[in-house]
Each structure stands twice: as C-alpha cells, then as structure tokens.
Amino acid sequence: MRQSRVIPGFGLTLGLVLLMLTLIVLLPLAALALKAAGVGPRAFLVVATSPRTLAALRLSFGTAFVAALMNSGVGLLVAWVLVRYRFPGRALIDAAIDLPFALPTAVAGIALAAVYAPNGLLGHWFAAIGIKTAFNPTGITLALIFIGLPFVVRTVQPVLLEIEREAEEASALLGAGPIRTFVRVILPAILPALITGFALAFARGVGEYGSVIFIAGNIPMVSEITPLLIVIKLEEFDYGGAAVIGLVMLAISFSLLLVIHLIEATTRKAYGHG
C-alpha cells in the first residue's frame, strides 16, 4: 500500500460507499439472518424441510437452471448472428435485446401470460398440439428465458468480437468444417463468458418474481416459486417462516454462484483468453 497518495478523496468516497452499503444492504440482510436464527433450530428445520418449501425451492432452482441452460444456447446463437452476420434490421434487433432489462417485470408478466396462456397468441397453437405453455413449470421457464436472455447475449457478444479470426481461418484452411471449427476453436474461447452469462441468468432467474407470478398459475407444490412462498408467509404474518425460507434461498444461491465461479475460473485457466 502506498503511503502518500496523489489522488484525494479516498476517505470520503470509501466512507460514503461503506456507510450506504451498511445501511441499505448489510444491516437489513443481517436482520434477515437474525430473524431466521431467532425461530430456533427446531422450527428452522421444520420450515426449511417442509414439503411445500422443498417443492418451491426445487421448482425455483430447477426452472432457473433449465431457463439459463436454454438461454445459453439461444443467447449464443443470437450473439453469434449479431456479431458475425449483416442483415437488415440488425441494429434494431441489437437494441431490442436489452428489452428485458428495461421492461418492468410486471408488464413482462402479464404480456407473457397473454402470449402463452392456453387462449393466448402462441399458447393456443401449443394447446392444439397438447403442450401447455402457461400456469405450469413450462410457463415459469418461459418467463425466466425472457428475463435471462440479455445476460447471456451481452456477456458473449464482446468476447466474440475480440476473438482472433486468424485461428478460425487457419482451422478452415486446414480442412476443418464449420462445426469442427466452432467446437474446437470458437467454443473454447467463449466458454468462460458463456458460463458467466449462464450464472447471471441463473442468479436472476432464481429470485425473479414479477414476470413469473402471472404465468405460473401459483399452485402450491406444483407451480409455486420460492419468492411467492415468502410473500404468502408474510401475508400470513409468519415473519419467522418467511425469514427462514429467504435465508435458505440466499444460502443456496450464493453457494451455487460460488461453484459456478470456480468452474468458470477453471475453464478460463484451461482455454481462456485471460
């Protein structure tokens, strides 16, 4: 650490950040931990392992995982098309990718329900072939695909732009087909970014509420996501129960993100562009 700094304002800026961080984020989160611990170990276990809680957790993490996985595929495709190909309307599409960041989640929720409900715009086509795209876990996954897509596209896009084209050209000249070139040359280079995008979409999906509740159907044990269960506990004035579920959900999220972070770091070491 340097003793004499030329640039001023260290104490002021760091102080402000730490103050606000403590007041707005850390103290309230500490209150959550305190309240959850306050119910006692037995009650904690009863709430955390009740069938309804477990079903909600399974549903939230499961649908978020599937949606993030599908977003990795679709997002990679979209990023690839936007970076590599020129077609009319490309700039407009590029701007539209960020719609889920800009559109309030409640609006997204009622709009997605209108599209994918059994009498909806696309929903009735799916219903005709016997696929239910709303009011069940499929509907939840659809909403989470909407919410998570820009995370994958926006993390992969800059990396695709940075890739050295020479390696691909060499691969093609040496006789590799497009699929082989993609799998052996391009995919390793973008894999760390793809995993980052997956993690962001997953993290957002697990906690997502507004866009999901309108399309989920909210049937206990079947299509009731964890955030909704917390809201229900609060409406029943079961603050302790809500705190326990909230804490369990946070703990699982952070552990999973840590694991994904480790996987990503390993991939970066193995193939990465640093």
Partner: protein, 302 residues
C-alpha cells in the same frame, strides 16, 4: 480496452462495442441464413411478441378508455409515486456509484475485491427478499418495530419503505457500469492534473467526469428503468394501498387481479413506453460512449 471477461461471475461489464466489418468465413450461405432466421424467430417469440401484445391491447381498447384509465386518480397517484421514488433513488445511487467507482479504480487497498463482491450482492438477491429484509427490520413485528411505533414513524406499508426497497435493488447499477469504464481510463490523467496544481474537485469535474460521463449516464438509465419498474421488492413493502402506496407496476397487478384486463394493459403500456424510451436513449448513450472512447484513443492496456 476494458476487461470484458473478468473472472468474477457477477461482473457483467458493458463495453462500448466496436464493429467488426470482416465477412464471416467458413459458413455457407444457407447455414448463415438458417441461423439468422432461427435467431430472429426465437427473439420474436420471446421479446417482440409480448411487447406487441401490450401495445396491441391498447389499440383494441380504444382511445376513450385509454384516456379514462390514464386520468383516473389512482393511476395518477401511482404515476406520481413512481416518479417520486425514481427521483430519490437515482441521484442517491448515482452518487454512491460514483463514490464506489472512484474508491475502487483510483486506489489500491486491502479488501477491494471483497468490497466489489459486496456491492454486487443486491444484484443476486431476490427482489422479494429485498422487500422482506425491510419488513423484518421496520415492520410491526420487526426488530425496530416497537421503537418506530413508539415514535409514530411508519416505514413499512408507506412511502419510506418503498424508497428503501428500491434503493436496495438498484444499489449496484451505477457502480457496475462505471467501474469497468473508469478502470480502463487508468489514473495517469488525474495524477497529471493534480500535480499541475488542480484541486481534487476540479480534477474530478474536468478530467474524470468528461471521460466517464457516458458510462455514468448508462448506469443512471438502467438504474432509473429498474427504479420505476421494480415490482417484487416494492410489492412486499407497499401494502397495496390504492392511491397511497401503489406504484405504476403495482397498479398493473391490482387492475389485473381485479380482472380489469384492459385497464391493466393500458397502464402497462405506459411502462412499456418507458422501456422503449430507455432503450432508445441507451443506444444513443452507447453510440456517444464509443465516440468518446475513440477520441481518447491512446492505447491503454491494463
């Protein structure tokens, strides 16, 4: 260039994307066309169609109903509250974001990485949990509930709670966008200005801000969109009191749950307009950011 592939999974960096004009090798024309069509189809199913449904329903509702819904006292009260919340949260989190970016990019100190992880925490916390923590802290049964009741202060089911919950969910937005941009600019310019006798504030206003302003605006834009559109966190702390603690997104839900679908979609379309304006401004800011980066185009490697 900014480190676009930062090792931290929670760091999604914006970078002023440069265009690559080279044609793509190795993919035949049919494959290329197929991929483009596939991408466009999935985008329309996921992004475009829902947006069209919102605006389409406004057209089918008809102009008189639109005017009627938008001029209802409850809608206007919700609009006012939404604007008020954004007017508080955006400047506060803008200032915090600037301070965070200054501290993190201009200084080396122990625990910097940890601080950056903490700044990102609100981003990966469910909005519902963001609301829940304030209920547990300030609610009637909360840790500070008895104290607040004694002094006649209401935070939960009132405007202060809505502001706090929104501050929580938008906490990281400005910092997340500013840090990569300001880090890529290095510290030399500031050090030069200071050694030439400029004060700290002058250096900030004349040297740092002109270079970072587009990154800052980008962050403020995203922060504002989220502050006006936040649903989960606000829904938990608001209590849904019509005309008092309903923001526009909550009004959408209230109308929807009362089966007033047309009215609900009309209010939703107001928010969808906000989203379109945000996207439009964002494109402009991105464009200007690219131009600014190009004009400061001395090669800065990290």
């Amino acid at each position: 260039m900014v480190d676009t592939t930062s090792a931290d999974p929670m760091r999604e960096t914006i970078v002023w994307r440069k265009e690559d004009q080279r044609p793509s090798l190795g993919a035949s024309a049919p494959l290329r066309a197929g991929l483009i069509v596939l991408a466009l189809l999935s985008l329309s199913a996921v992004l475009v169609l829902p947006l069209m449904v919102v605006f389409g329903s406004v057209f089918t509702a008809g102009f008189p109903l639109v005017i009627e819904v938008l001029s209802e006292p409850d809608t206007l009260a919700a609009l006012r509250l939404t604007l008020l919340v954004a007017a508080i949260c955006v400047p506060v989190n803008g200032a915090v974001g600037l301070a965070a970016a200054w501290a993190v990019t201009k200084f080396d100190f122990r625990g910097k990485t940890f601080l950056m992880v903490l700044i990102d925490v609100p981003f990966s916390v469910s909005p519902v949990v963001a609301g829940l923590v304030y209920v547990l802290l300030f609610g009637a049964q909360g840790l500070m509930g008895p104290f607040l009741q004694l002094h006649g202060i209401t935070i939960i089911f009132a405007v202060p709670g809505i502001v706090l919950a929104t501050l929580f969910v938008t906490f990281s937005f400005v910092a997340r966008e500013l840090i990569p941009v300001m880090r890529s600019h290095g510290r030399q310019d500031e050090e030069a200005a200071l050694s030439l006798g400029a004060s700290g504030w002058t250096t900030f206003w004349r040297v740092t801000l002109p270079k970072a302003k587009w990154g800052l605006l980008y962050g403020l834009l995203l922060c504002n969109a989220r502050a006006m559109g936040e649903f989960g966190a606000v829904s938990v702390v608001s209590g849904h009191i019509r005309g008092l603690t309903n923001t526009l997104p909550l009004q959408v839900e209230v109308l929807y749950n009362e089966y007033q679908f047309k009215a609900s979609f009309i209010v939703a379309s107001l928010l969808a307009c906000l989203a379109l304006v945000t996207l439009f401004l964002k494109s402009i800011v991105e464009h200007c950011g690219r131009m600014t980066e190009a004009s400061f185009s001395k090669p800065h490697k990290e």
